[in-house]
Every structure is written in structure tokens, then in C-alpha cells.
């Protein structure tokens, strides 16, 4: 077989390019000397918000180029189980642990063993009481306060409130309650006439709404993020006479806030971004780099209404994602991933076909 010189040249050029490309990808890894291992302990699985949080950690860690491995131990478990998971992560030799704790104090013994061994522990979403740890979360006291203020305004500062909290004893619930009650104290003509717990469970929230919503009984509803099915319950239970509802940045809630606005519905959106996980990953990497990081890193939530913030709410709704998706896709300066990188949910050690 005879090869023309042109063909040979092309072949050489192609192989050189391939070699170069391979060389780049091979040598790119050692160029970044930091091969951090990050562990994640999450005590509540099968929940859209928590899944997005975990994906945000993976995406941010992958993009940083400094993380070799993200080990995720995510399951529904109690304090003893989560403590065991934290100990397992220590055994796996991770450099940092990002923990979303089901209990503010119950994992402290396991966490102390980790911090004593020099592992950086970052609490995400739910605050913990263990010393030498870093918190990355939404400012939940402010979350309660700004929602309460916007609700009071929407209720024209008078009437009865149905107060639908999260889970008793969870750090976020306690903090939100603090902010909510402090704000409502300022409005003498507003009364919290019913206080219930949804345990952040959609079915429980829907059942409670169907039982409690009676025409004329309440002039406003505050929810701890179990929001859109409370609004849909009003369609039948209040015959479409919608009263103001405070919800979170859930996809469907924002859609309803938009679509029911012409019918007089005031939906108050107080974002609680699940991608705070990405911010936690960034903080973890910063700590491992030896940077000084404040002990508390809080997102400042603000209340959005369709009348006031039409553009922002329109921009947040993600048509392709499910109803309960926490629709905040980036935190400027705190996360770097694009929406598609977040949805791919790829950890550094996963193959390039997009993880699972």
C-alpha cells in the first residue's frame, strides 16, 4: 500500500493534535496539586431539595479542579445513623465533611472526632452546635422575618394567619420561627390563630390545608416551603378566593404566583436555594486551601412578589424541572456552575458520561 505524502502529513497532524490533546488532559491533573477528598453526610434522602443540594456540591467540586473525590452518604436516618456515617467518612480519609444534620447537637461527638483529626467540617443548611465548624446556610431568621413582613403588608396589616411551620426541633424551623414571631409582634392587628407543623412533607401540608382552609377564617398563610399545594387547595376550599401565601422558590409555587396573579393571588416568594450546597463546597475548598473563612456564611433572603419582581420570578421558573425543584440556579460569586452542569450532577470521580 502506498501512501501519498499528503495523507502522511494529515496523519501526522492528526496524531500530533490527538497526542497534544491527550497530553493536556493527562498533564492538567498533576498541574493542580490539590487532590482534596470531600465527604457529604445528608440525613434525609429522596427529597428534591436535598438531592439538588448534593448535586450542587458535586458540580462545584468538579468545576474547582481541586477535588479528586466526593463521597456522598445520603439516606434517611436518625442521629445514631448519621453519626455512624460521619465516622465512616473519617475512615474514608476525607479532608472535609459537608454535613446537613438532622439534629443540631446529636452528631457533635462524631463531628468532634473529625475536627480533632484535622478534618474541616462544614454545616450546610441546618446549623449545628459543635465547635470548630463552619456554617454555610440561608439566614433562616431573616427568612422568617422578611416573609412575615411581606405577608403583613399583603394582608394590609390586619387579620388571622395560618402558620404552617416545618419540623419541630430542626435548626432551620427554630430560626425561622424566631424571625417570624419577632416581625409579627410589630403588627398588633395580625393574629397567628393556627400553628401547625408540616414536617416539610407535601402530603401532610396538603392534608392540613384541606382540613383548615375555610372561607373567611384566615386572611393569610405562611408556609415553611410546603407551598404550592396549599395554593391549589384554595381553588376548591376557598372557591378561588385566594389569600396571600408565603412560600419558597419552589418551581410550581412560582408558576402559580405568576399564573394566578390576574385572579388576585399574592404569592410571596422567599428563596431558600438548595444550591447553597455549591456554596458550601466552595467554602470547604477555601478552608482546605488554607484561606481564612468566617465561621458563619449566610445568604440574605428577600421576599419577592409578582407585582414587584415580575422579571426575577419569570427568570427563575425552570420549565424542564419538577414542581418541587428549588429554582435558584446560581448564587453570583458563590457558585460557578451552569444550570446544565448542576443537572448533570457529576462528581469529580464520575466518568464523563454524566454520572448516573
Amino acid at each position: 500500500m502506498k501512501l501519498s505524502s499528503k495523507r502522511i502529513k494529515t496523519a501526522i497532524a492528526v496524531s500530533a493534535t490527538v497526542a497534544l490533546a491527550m497530553g493536556v488532559s493527562v498533564f492538567a491533573v498533576p498541574a493542580q496539586a490539590n487532590n482534596y477528598k470531600i465527604g457529604v453526610s445528608n440525613s434525609w434522602a429522596g427529597n428534591s431539595w436535598r438531592e439538588t443540594m448534593v448535586c450542587a456540591i458535586k458540580a462545584e467540586a468538579t468545576l474547582s479542579g481541586k477535588v479528586a473525590n466526593v463521597t456522598v452518604l445520603s439516606r434517611n436516618t436518625d442521629a445514631a445513623g448519621q453519626s455512624a456515617d460521619i465516622r465512616t467518612l473519617k475512615t474514608q480519609g476525607v479532608d472535609a465533611i459537608i454535613v446537613n444534620s438532622g439534629d443540631p447537637a446529636a452528631n457533635n461527638a462524631a463531628i468532634k472526632e473529625a475536627t480533632d483529626a484535622g478534618i474541616k467540617v462544614i454545616a450546610v443548611d441546618n446549623a449545628i452546635t459543635a465547635p470548630d465548624t463552619t456554617l454555610v446556610a440561608n439566614d433562616q431568621v431573616a427568612y422568617g422575618r422578611v416573609g412575615a413582613a411581606a405577608l403583613a403588608k399583603a394582608m394590609k396589616y390586619k387579620g388571622n394567619v395560618l402558620y404552617m411551620r416545618g419540623a419541630s426541633g430542626a435548626g432551620a424551623d427554630t430560626d425561622r420561627d424566631k424571625g417570624f414571631k419577632a416581625e409579627m409582634k410589630k403588627h398588633k392587628k395580625i393574629k397567628i390563630t393556627k400553628e401547625v407543623f408540616t414536617n416539610w412533607d407535601w402530603a401532610t401540608g396538603g392534608t392540613l390545608a384541606n382540613q383548615l382552609l375555610v372561607p373567611g377564617k384566615f386572611q393569610g398563610v405562611w408556609t415553611s416551603g410546603i407551598d404550592y399545594n396549599i395554593v391549589t387547595a384554595m381553588t376548591t376550599k376557598l372557591k378561588g378566593k385566594y389569600i396571600p401565601v408565603v412560600g419558597s422558590d419552589n418551581n410550581e409555587f412560582m408558576k402559580l404566583t405568576k399564573s394566578l396573579a390576574p385572579k388576585g393571588f399574592v404569592g410571596i416568594v422567599v428563596p431558600n436555594p438548595a444550591i447553597v450546597g455549591g456554596y458550601a463546597a466552595k467554602v470547604a475548598i477555601g478552608l482546605l486551601d488554607g484561606n481564612t473563612v468566617p465561621a458563619k456564611n449566610l445568604l440574605k433572603p428577600k421576599a419577592l412578589t409578582y407585582a414587584k419582581d415580575k422579571k426575577e420570578i419569570d427568570a427563575r421558573i425552570v420549565a424542564t424541572q419538577e414542581a418541587t425543584f428549588s429554582a435558584t440556579l446560581s448564587l453570583p460569586g458563590k457558585t460557578t456552575f451552569t444550570p446544565s452542569q448542576l443537572f448533570r450532577c457529576k462528581a469529580p470521580q464520575d466518568s464523563d458520561d454524566g454520572g448516573r
Binding site: G46, D78, Q92, G93, A106, N108
Partner: protein, 318 residues
Amino acid sequence: MNLVQARRQSWNIGIVVLVLILGFWRINQLPQFGSYEARTFILGILPIALLSMGQAVIIIGGGINLAIGAEAVLINCLSAKYMAGTSFTTSVFLAFLFIGIGGLVGAITGWIVSASGIADIVVTLATSFLLVGVAMFVMPQPGGGINQGVADLIGGKDPNFIPPLIWLILPLLIIWIPLYRSRTGIAMYAIGSNKDAAFLSGVNVNRTRIKVYAVGGLFAGLSGVVLTGITLSASPFATISSTATLNSVAGAVLGGVSLAGGVGGLAGPAMAALVLYFIPNIMLASGIDPAYSQIITGALTIFVVLVGGLLRKRTGKT
């Protein structure tokens, strides 16, 4: 009798083999295995192992206690509330007091079952709601604490795995073996096997049943205090209690205790707790959603109940 004993031995060997296989698998997944890892294993199983043992005693005695998880949660809340900020001696005293209260709660449950004549499933289901309610009253939200010295005696100071191991084995030695060898122990197996025959042979059925529930309560109290020692706090949640109760039944059954009563011991359930611990952890480490581990645990439990039933038919025991 010989056949029954031989079957029990083969059962115990079976569970030991299963524990060894899963344990070897799990250890292989870890980068190293030392006393810290051993301690992680034991701390992971200790509360549920103690609860499974308590449930096993009651099931052997022909009953079942669906409130055993709630008893543990209640003792967990009581102990964490009153041991917070106390001295070493006070904490130790309170630990024994609350374990005793666990036994008392168990005895009262047994008395209600005996006196009312209502099925134990119904009675204990009701008391489970009641006890969680009391726990929420004692401690409306998670918190509490324990003297750190006592906590170290329970959970072991990192990486010492001996204290939790002692808490796992000691109850077998000082509660179970004396009970097993006593008249009450024989009466317990007797009423579990056949209540009427036991009654006709002169066994005081009601009194034995109260004792059996009391011993189950002691184990539940131990489990609650140990949980306080491990987590340095308590949570009053109904989900914790129901999950713990179901796991205790699964542990007892996997450990070779027949749900029909009168068959089994306590070493099996203690080892079965390891099986229940290893399965989700192995799956988690293999990157499989641990929710599936419940399928495996469930299938394993059904398999065990089926095999147990078949063997009973074969050996002619009714």
C-alpha cells in the same frame, strides 16, 4: 428437644457466617480497619442491638411489644433532659434510675396486656403513641446532654472500642443468662411455646408475662440511655420510635427468634443487628441508593420467617 436444639445451633452458625461474610465485605471497602472503625461498627449497632434483644425476650415469651422503640425514645429523652450538666456520680445514678424506669414501663405494659386480655399488638400499639407523647412532653424538641465522663464510659473515648463492646455483651451476661437459667426463664419458654399447656403445668402465666415485658423494658431503657451516651442528646420523634421498633422485630426474627414464641436466644438478635447495619452501609459504599437496602432487609426477613415456618413443620412443632 434435641432436634430443636440442633436447629437452633445451625441457625446461630448461619447468622455468624452471614455476619462474617458481610463484615469481611464491609471491612474490604474501608481503606483501613482499626479500633476506630471497630468502634464505629459497635456504636452504629449498639442501640438497635439492645432493642432487638429486648424484643427477642418478649417474643420468646409469646408476646410482641410494638412500643419498645417508644420506650427507648422516652428513656432517651428523660435521661438527656435530667443528665444534662450533672456531675459524674449523678449521671451514673440517673443512668441506673432510668434503666430501671424502662423496666417499670415494660412491667406496666405487660400488666395491661395480662389484665385486659386484649391482644398485645393492640395494647402496645396504643402505648407506643402514649409513650412518644410523654417523650414529647418531657422534651418538646431535640436537646439535652450527659456528663462527658459517663458518655465516654458508654461510647468509649475515640478510638477505644472496649466500652461500647462491654455494653453490648454485659447485658447478655448479667440479664439474659441468669434469666435463661432461672425458673422464670423456663416459664418464659413454656408460655411462649404453649400458654395453655404451661398454665396446666402450674406456670403462673400472667406473672411470667409481666416479668418478660419488664426485662424487655430494661433492655429498652438500656438502649435509651446508651443512645444518650452516644449522641449526647435526645430527639422525641415518633418516626425514630417506629423505625426502631420495626428494626427490633427484624433483628429478633433474623436472629433466630420464632414469631410463634418459645424459640430462640439473645446472641442471635445481637448479631442480626450487625447484619442490619452492614447491608445499608455496604450499599452506600458501593454507590447504590441505600433505600434499596430496605428491600434486601425485608426480603431476608421474609425468607427467614418462611424457612423458620418450614423447619417447624418438619420437626412437628406446632
